[in-house]
Structure formats: structure tokens, C-alpha cells
Symmetry: C2
Subunit: 215 residues, 2 copies
Amino acid sequence: MKDDKITQLMSHQAIRRLPHYLKYLKNLDTASNDRISAAVMAADLRLYEGLVRKDLAFVSSVSGKPRVGFKIDDLISGIEHFLGYDMPNRAVLAGAGHLGKALLCYRGFESYKLEIVAAFDVAEKLIGSEICGKEVFPLEKARDLCPRLNVRIGIITAPAAVAQEVCDILVDAGVLAVWNFAPAQLSVPRGILVQNENMAESLAILSNHLTEKRR
Amino acid sequence: MKDDKITQLMSHQAIRRLPHYLKYLKNLDTASNDRISAAVMAADLRLYEGLVRKDLAFVSSVSGKPRVGFKIDDLISGIEHFLGYDMPNRAVLAGAGHLGKALLCYRGFESYKLEIVAAFDVAEKLIGSEICGKEVFPLEKARDLCPRLNVRIGIITAPAAVAQEVCDILVDAGVLAVWNFAPAQLSVPRGILVQNENMAESLAILSNHLTEKRR
């Protein structure tokens, strides 16, 4: 593996490309050919060759050979290791409304080794219930439960007005990364990552596109 | 208003900042002061002043005055007009599973003038039912219903395996923009916008962050 100081320099934009590489590589037919070149990958994925070459150099332990390229299996395990998909991450979810339920029941997280182990809410009628096999606990139990369950990720699907308060509780409970679905800007201590899913931003792009079409 | 050719040049990154400006401007207390400068906005939002100044020049019909800045009301209506929030957009949603239900029931879209008017699915048990006041129709009704309802946006929450097929049907039914929540790359004709909500990309960033923490 590469030196950690180097791997840390990979940009978020580059990291965002890795799931697409993984999906592409896993769909290749390795029976006929177990190698792939950066040039072929770039052409298939409609990306610049130099970009793909640089990304692969980051995540691969061995260099691609001229003309024959990279071993596909090596690339897959290299990317999975880089992304931490070879070590499961445990998450809790705070806010078991419609969106929270959708995420609790979503099966697609398994392939990314993300496991939502419990949910939190403040609504009496939800507490104690199970949503797709995950129990809903009162929010004040987070500080106790998260360290015990070795939880590292906090998913916030609570309303925007209480998102910061919920975030503070989860950070206090030891989560190292917050996946924020609430339309709120969150403040966190240094070293904690906040990844925002901002639907308002996407809506702005959609709406602007339609406005341009009308003009 | 600015020349259309100029407004079209605004980058997606810049458009993504506009909802944050809107939210900020709407929260300002205009009773004491009805103007704001790019410098103050930039400082409050922790952005570069030059960037904010450039964005505001795009969306504002009048220039900010030296020292006193922009009229807050003008900026709000300028951004809303630029984003098309002054004209409602109608959408349909295809795939009424957990995520589909979450979006059908989400009330936050109203402030972006996005109205989901109907849902489509292929599951017999869902067809004819209502989810948060929106009826679920069989997918094959899309070609008939979308033009009649003047639908411009298609939201795809169907499984990845059928997402392209669903997308083709919606595009054929006349939608001009696709908001894609399925983890699939969609092909569309030129002039149709696809906005992907890619949770795999976000998960990659979260997981990589935790991996770095472990090293």
C-alpha cells in the first residue's frame, strides 16, 4: 500500500469517482481477460485517461504494466481497501420519519459495508418500535449506546430545526462522521466529517435547467 | 434581467450556492436595514467575496451600490427568478418504494415550487393507492398522464436494474429533467438534464474518512 500521507491527498472529487470504477470493474467479464488498462477504462467511462491513470495510481498497490494494464482483481481490492469497504462501518440514524425509514430499510448499503444498527427518535409512538429490524431508541440513549455498539457514523434525518442539537449529541456519543440529510448547516469539532445530502442544491439545478428551457 | 446567453454560463457549482444565499437572505432582519453588501454576505457564509460578488452579478438585475450594497428584496426575487422558483414545476415520481414514499410525503419541496402530482409503479398492490395524497398509477399510464398534467420533471426512485427503462418512458412522456435516485448511470437525449443523487459517492467519502482515522 501507498504511504498514508499520499493517500490522504486524494480529493473528494476523485473519491467520488471510485464507486463508479468499482461498479465498472465488478461488471467486467474476467474469464476472457483478467486485465484492464487505464485507457480502456477511461474510454468506457467517458473520462480523461490521465485522470483515470492518476486515480488508479492512488488506489493500486502495483503499477499497471505498459500495454497489458492492471489486474482487475487487484484494482477491485485496492479500491475497496482505500475506501474502507473491507472493514464494516456501523452507523446509527437519528430521526425515524419517512426519509429515516427509507434509509433504515434500504438494502443497498450492505455492499458498502455500512450497517445501520439502531435508530433514535424523540416521538413516544416510535420509541420501542422496530423499523426493518432496527429498534428505535429514545435520543437520550445515544451517548450510552453508540460507544457500546462501536458506532462511527451518525445519519441525521431529523428536521432542520433540531439537526444541530442532534448532531451535537451524536458527536458527543463518539461518531466520527455525520451523514446529514437535514437542510441545515452543521458545526462540528475539527476532525469530524460532515457529508451533506443537499436536495435543495439539486433542485436548484433542475429548476434552473427548466427555466432556461422556457426562456 | 441579464441576457440569457450570459445567465446560461453560470456553473452548476455556482447554482448550488444560490439556495444557500436565498436561505441566508430570507433570514435577515430587514426591519433595521434593507440592504446587504457582497462583503458582509461572504463573511457570514464563509465564502470568498469575489465569488459572492460574481454570483450576485449573475442573478441580480441591478448592481449593488458601493458601500450600501444590494437591496435584500431585489436579491431574493432575482435569485428566485433565476432559479425558476417564481414558476411552479410539476413532477411525477416513478417507484413508490420506501424512498419514493419519503419523497412523496416530504413537505419541503413546496418552498422550491416543486409539486409531485402523481406516482407510478408496477406493483399491483400499490396501484390505485394514495401516498400522502398522491395517487399511484401503473407505469404505462405515464405517456398519457405526463403531457396532460404538464409534467416537466421525472423523479426516479425505481430499482437500478429498471432505472434506464423507466427513464426512457418518462423522457418519451415529455419530461425535460430527470432527478435520479437510483444507483444507475442513465442515458438521455441531448437537452434533457439528469441530476443524480448518488449516495454511493457520499458513502465513499464517509468511509474513506473513517479509514484514514483508523490508519
